[in-house]
Symmetry: C2
Subunit: 335 residues, 2 copies
């Protein structure tokens, strides 16, 4: 059963694994450096649906179906599903997964959702009462643009610090089958708000949350960055990653050698014009559940920290002059 060590980290003492995972991605993502690793790709980002929101729901549905198929499981084998997304009232998740008939606990962690659902799945399976959980998240460039920024037809200019919302989804099955990659510990994030107000610079808003969670994890476990093959943040992008290095140095930790960020990995900075990198729940979701999982299973990565970060504001809160609270959740995976 789970056991707290230090102030905020919880050890997963039983054998709880990411049994299988699947990442799906849109056209632009497929043209990027990780294109060949996605489990399913789409040449048309509408996915043949009549709205961007319905297309995003279909991304979740596909990712969940693929994760189940990889493990040879059906929805009846899953005790609980944990899912969330960026859309108002999390409709990508509720509409995308409603046909599965699996008990559902909706999650809201913005772009931290992949780590939030994985850590909660690990706690529930290790704690007892659930033997298997499905963790799912998604984002879609077009549904996010029109909800958070401007109608895509408007063709608005983007600032240099802006990130590009990934069209993609990730789904993972966490269970006690003993198969796959074990989750060894988790650290739940705290809402961190250093009063950044620029909604076009999410990296700056989220970096302090990542630093807070990663520092807490190192302190709680008595480990240092060099103990991990990879410290993978969700979508800080180029700007946020640099800020994270600085904040971590202030805490006495140098993570530059083994850090990477899904928002930096998913697009080609030179060939694809995405400014500060990728973002959205589906960025960490699709990259972790496809490319990273394949490297974990092949033994290329043996001990990593997945640290997905989320910005917890809304267009309404920004219009009302509020700053951007952020959060980062951490999952330690040891294969």
């Amino acid at each position: 059963m789970p056991q707290r060590i230090g102030k905020r980290t919880i050890m997963i003492n039983g054998l709880v694994t990411i049994h299988s995972a699947a990442g799906v991605a849109g056209k632009k993502e497929t043209e990027g450096p990780l294109g060949k690793f996605f489990d399913k790709t789409y040449s048309d980002d509408t996915l043949g649906k009549t709205s961007w929101e319905k297309a995003e729901s279909a991304l979740q549905q596909d990712a969940a179906s693929l994760a189940l198929a990889k493990a040879g499981l059906t929805p009846l084998d899953i005790d609980v599903m944990l899912a969330g997304d960026l859309l108002n009232q999390c409709i990508s998740s509720t509409f995308g997964l409603r046909s599965l008939g699996i008990p559902f606990l909706g999650q809201f962690g913005a772009c931290s959702t992949m780590a939030q659902t994985l850590l909660l799945a690990a706690l529930l399976v290790d704690g007892g009462g659930c033997s298997s959980a499905l963790a799912v998240t998604s984002s879609h460039f077009c549904s996010a643009e029109r909800q958070f920024r401007l109608p895509i037809e408007y063709g608005g200019q983007r600032t240099p610090t802006a990130q590009w919302t990934v069209t993609g989804a990730g789904a993972a099955i966490v269970d006690n089958s003993g198969k796959g990659c074990p989750i060894k510990s988790v650290t739940i994030g705290r809402i961190t708000d250093l009063k950044v107000k620029d909604a076009n610079n999410m990296g700056a808003a989220m970096a302090p949350a990542a630093a807070d969670t990663i520092s807490a994890f190192f302190t709680d476990t008595g480990t240092t960055p060099k103990d991990y093959d990879l410290i993978l943040t969700g979508d800080l992008g180029y700007v946020g990653s640099e800020l994270l290095y600085e904040l971590m140095r202030n805490e006495g930790f140098d993570i530059t050698d083994n850090h990477n960020d899904c928002g930096k990995m998913i697009f080609d900075r030179k060939k694809q014009d995405v400014h500060s990198g990728g973002s959205g729940c589906g960025c960490c979701g699709s990259v972790f559940c496809s490319y990273i999982m394949s490297r974990l299973l092949s033994g290329e990565i043996r001990n990593m920290l997945l640290v997905a970060t989320g910005a917890l504001m809304s267009p309404t809160s920004s219009q009302q002059g509020e700053s951007i609270p952020a959060i980062a959740h951490l999952v330690n995976i040891v294969c």
Copy 2:
């Protein structure tokens, strides 16, 4: 530790209790039949803030502070907080609770959030790794109206089946202190969609979800309605409650004798013009955390089911012609 019985119900085997709870409510709610039971009331629904959204955040902050004070605890004593609300990107929760510094897992269950956060708190505390959790939710009539329906200044007509979003919040501390009211079992809801499309008749959309969860609980536990002093649904209101009776009769259970609904209880049907009753996360939140908790602690209620229901649609999904998926989570409390 938690243990599954039957298909969907999970027993909480350790002594996990609702240590303390607090419900706060706005002006109209205070004028209703439960007015004197709320832990804090407001004569001005702005709470002195500059927006309805900021006022709703303040409701959560007040409810959480009161629940902590009642238990003689500080935020440092709480391992995790679980909170959610109806606003886009759950900003009432993230902004209302950001100053507490407690590790946070954002929840989205629409009006089922009070039961969702309580059941997850019970699973995490019983499962180990957390000794205490704070469960919080809220709604505000004015922030909900302008987000989901029309600007309040418009004064739009309401249909007879419409419900009135409660201005209120509830917060509860679930821990292993042994004090308060024990949570004995929980049933996680499934997304249920019988293709109701009328966004002004949430009761009809949510009743099938409540029937699904309550029937599963009775089947899993081998109990019947008469084994419980109270079966309390969240906010089905008058229309939804009648539909629930019919659906439950079809499943072979008559719950009419010991059922009540927070949406029916919070307003005076004759004196307060709310059509089908109250609704919103804060309806179940404020009624359960104040009036019902006081009756549990006094021994008037000894064995009850709290079944909060949520409609998982958004204005966008309804505009795109979608039906309304719903969910209901159940918490069995035995004092």
